[in-house]
């Protein structure tokens, strides 16, 4: 369970997030919705430790927790970026195994085996040796999900998972997210797409521009 209390964030003195509170229970899907510029991405960047916060506290399973300062070995938060940000110089398989082998020091054999399992589960079998430029948008996104999962995060975050895809792929993304929930994954989904949000949400947080 992740609790966020009174999260405040400014950019150059401009208030973006004003005392935001949220709680996400294990295995839940929390969607964060709101108009463009409301600070949804900023909130996600604070949760994933990419931005320093100006105030507030994070509690993970009741313990204080600083996303920006977690040690190398503790992969608490996984992130699927809006534009995926796969590493173009690595194959699909290497994208997935890079962090487990270099950060967690998992053996190459074990990392490969787990990566292939995860890739199979997201219908990416046969794509292991392709480079990112050879994949479609939907495939890139699924690789990004697998890459994040391979680090065994406690919470997986998505920023606008439908925005870079064809509209008819929305269903498929929803299915993947709901499938991961079945497997016990806690997820936070940022989106401005209300239909999509209501399709996957257990709980919805609305943010408005300050």
């Amino acid at each position: 369970m992740l609790e966020i209390k009174n999260l405040t964030k400014t950019y150059d003195g401009k208030l973006i997030l004003d005392h935001v509170n949220l709680t996400i229970k294990d295995d839940e899907i929390l969607t964060i919705v709101g108009p463009s510029g409301a600070g949804k991405s900023t909130l996600l960047r604070c949760i994933s430790g990419l931005e320093k916060i100006d105030g507030g506290t994070f509690l993970l399973n009741g313990e204080p927790f600083d996303p920006a300062e977690t040690k190398q070995s503790e992969a608490v938060i996984g992130v699927v970026f809006q534009d995926f940000q796969l590493f173009p110089n690595f194959t699909v398989l290497q994208n997935v195994t890079l962090a487990p082998t270099t950060v967690l020091h998992v053996s190459a054999a074990d990392a490969n085996r787990e990566a292939r399992d995860l890739l199979d589960r997201l219908n990416l079998n046969g794509k292991e040796d392709l480079y990112p430029y050879e994949l479609s948008g939907g495939q890139k996104q699924r690789v990004a999900i697998v890459r994040a999962l391979a680090m065994h995060p406690q919470i997986l975050c998505y920023d606008e998972p439908t925005s870079a895809l064809d509209p008819d792929l929305r269903q498929e993304v929803a299915k993947i997210i709901l499938g991961l929930k079945q497997d016990g994954m806690t997820q936070i989904v940022v989106t401005h797409d209300m239909d999509f949000a209501s399709a996957v949400a257990d709980k919805m947080l609305r943010v408005e521009p300050v």
């Binding site: 994933s48 430790g49 990419l50 977690t70 190398q72 070995s73 503790e74 992969a75 938060i77 996984g78 992130v79 970026f81 534009d83 940000q85 796969l86 590493f87 173009p88 110089n89 690595f90 890079l98 962090a99 270099t102 950060v103 480079y131 990112p132 430029y133 890459r147 994040a148 680090m151």
Partner: protein, 213 residues
């Protein structure tokens, strides 16, 4: 033919000087250029100002002037380098600036998102540079680095001005002494061979980096 065999030893010993300037400059100036390029993109402003000034100075003045300055100018300030060291210092400082400029451009072409996705995967900054950023930068900069490397082979002939015996000087001496064009033609052929080898190596490297985009 026997004339060629007769002048070949002196040309080859000149070529040795050319190659030694070439290799030492490459070996030191490329890593130095990477460091300066990284420094130029750092957030610590005084460092970027200092490095920008260095790059501006080196690229804004002739290499010939820099050679003369190091060998004939610095002794006036009591700093004396042997000829060969002076040549290496000037070449390394000059070429590192050009390489830095190329690497800076390459580094800035990498989206911030690459650093961020590496960070949320818990890779350290060093791991991120080594495994993700540098390979992408190398691919981007390879053609420009190739140009500079070819330039360096030819620029190395500038060391004649401080009295070092390189390939061009050896040919020039033989031509003046024996009143024939043959040495100069041989020198041209040798430069062509050197640049051809470099071009070939660069093509191989570019091919190595061509299976991803």
């Amino acid at each position: 033919m026997s004339y060629i065999l007769q002048i070949l030893p002196s040309l080859l010993s000149g070529a040795q000087m050319t190659l030694s300037i070439f290799f030492w400059t490459i070996i030191v100036a490329i890593p130095l250029g990477i460091l300066v390029g990284l420094g130029q993109t750092s957030r610590f402003k005084p460092l970027t100002w200092l490095l920008n000034f260095y790059v501006w100075l080196m690229r804004g003045t002739p290499l010939l002037l820099q050679l003369i300055f190091v060998f004939y100018g610095l002794p006036l300030l009591g700093i004396v380098f042997p000829r060969y060291d002076a040549a290496l210092i000037a070449f390394i400082l000059n070429y590192a600036a050009y390489f830095a400029e190329i690497f800076r451009g390459g580094l800035q072409a990498i989206p911030v998102g690459q650093y961020e996705s590496a960070k949320v995967l818990r890779l350290s900054y060093g791991q991120t540079l080594r495994k993700i950023i540098i390979p992408q930068v190398v691919k981007i900069v390879l053609p420009s680095i190739g140009n500079e490397v070819i330039n360096l082979i030819k620029d190395s002939s500038l060391v004649y001005v401080i009295g070092l015996g390189d390939l061009l000087r050896a040919g020039n001496v033989a031509t003046a002494r024996d009143v024939t064009l043959v040495p100069l033609v041989l020198v041209a052929v040798m430069y062509l061979l050197l640049t051809a080898v470099c071009t070939g190596v660069l093509r191989l490297l570019e091919r190595h980096y061509s299976n991803w985009r």
